[in-house]
Symmetry: C2
């Protein structure tokens, strides 16, 4: 880079840096996406992901967390960079790049009032309407990433309440992969990973017998990861 910065940015034109959040949730056995209706111009009334420009004194991931908190009230959520979107003409208004970040949130956690107030709405993943700019692409990319990642890291747990049953977990994986799994083998496999803690309680909302609740064992998971263990779910 022998050129100096001013060669590129001498004009009054600016490069804007934004971040957009692809927010997944799991509810009623369905994988869902949180989007919202723009209430200001430009593109008023279009559906869009939730995003923001990155402030000058702010880390990019901080910016994404800030937005997520504004909209859902949630902190300490699983969030990971997806990729950047940097085509010169991606936004007709001004030159910008956006860092896409996907988040997984638990359906019972978020602040419903706050979400409503911002004009946000949960859509089942295969019923999401067209979004502004390149946001459709972002969702597509994020879904692919979720599918791949859920295969070798237990991120699926981020989408469930803290206590969950094995049939619930199976439902989630079935929703992500859009195919049915064998209950016996799924159970066997997931338990063999040794990252679930069985609780005394049962959840009886979906069956007569009721299913035992489990918690995710973060400690043991970390230990296993460090020892080079390779997860494989579904």
């Amino acid at each position: 880079m022998p050129e100096s910065i001013s060669d590129y940015y001498a004009q009054n034109d600016k490069m804007y840096v934004a971040t957009d959040c692809i927010i997944f949730g799991f509810d009623e056995g369905k994988l869902k996406l949180l989007i919202f209706k723009r209430r200001v111009e430009p593109l008023k009334d279009s559906w869009s992901l939730i995003g923001s420009f990155v402030k000058l004194n702010e880390d990019v991931d901080q910016a994404a967390k800030r937005v997520l908190k504004e909209i859902t009230g949630l902190e300490n959520v699983f969030m990971e960079e997806l990729k950047s979107y940097g085509k010169a003409e991606r936004d007709p208004g001004y030159r910008s790049i956006s860092i896409g970040q996907y988040a997984l949130i638990r359906p019972d956690d978020y602040d419903k009032e706050l979400v409503k107030k911002h004009g946000a709405h949960w859509y089942e993943i295969d019923k999401v309407p067209d979004l502004v700019l390149d946001h459709d692409q972002m969702v597509k990319d994020a879904l692919e990433r979720l599918k791949r990642k859920a295969r070798y890291k237990p991120i699926g747990f981020e989408l469930l309440p803290e206590k969950f049953t094995i049939p619930q977990l199976q439902q989630l994986y079935e929703a992500i992969y859009q195919k049915e799994l064998d209950a016996r083998n799924f159970r066997k496999k997931v338990l063999s990973l040794n990252v679930l803690i069985k609780l005394e309680e049962k959840d009886k909302s979906t069956s007569r017998r009721g299913a035992f609740l489990y918690k995710f064992d973060h400690k043991n998971y970390k230990k296993l990861l460090e020892s080079g263990y390779n997860f494989e779910i579904a």
Copy 2:
């Protein structure tokens, strides 16, 4: 994002967008990285990745390709986004974010004169000196990505000359994973993927008998990918 852009960028301060290339090569049985010595202030004489600011009318990935061509003379190289680096204080000089992109190039392809002229140098991956800013982290991240990716996509081939032998391919995987592989089983596995075309010619540079040369079968690879085939190498 109810706020307007000018809230964030009203000051004369600017946000700069850069891209840095993590360039891998494979030569003499070793995985190597191309870095260069800065010849201008600031940080003159420090080792650094090759990068550039993104021009206002340029896609981010275009910018990376431009740099790569300037330094190596190469076009149409395997290059993929790694991740963004967006900490507010990552560069003490000015607020910038950088999109890391990693590239895999064939050792015989690049323009040696051009590389020399730019003060660039190939280092074995475990002997790379300290780099400026967060470039060390970028290299670490890129290496991890390469390891993971090489496991399920045949990107390793990008690092070999167009014609290569199976023992060479094995060497490459051994270099990436830093462990020895069984020749018989490696051969069996890699051939079972059906993405290699056996040629008539032999390479006799490393053994008396000589080993048959192969080409990567891009067409068949694509076909298999589309049909949902899942690669697994090493």
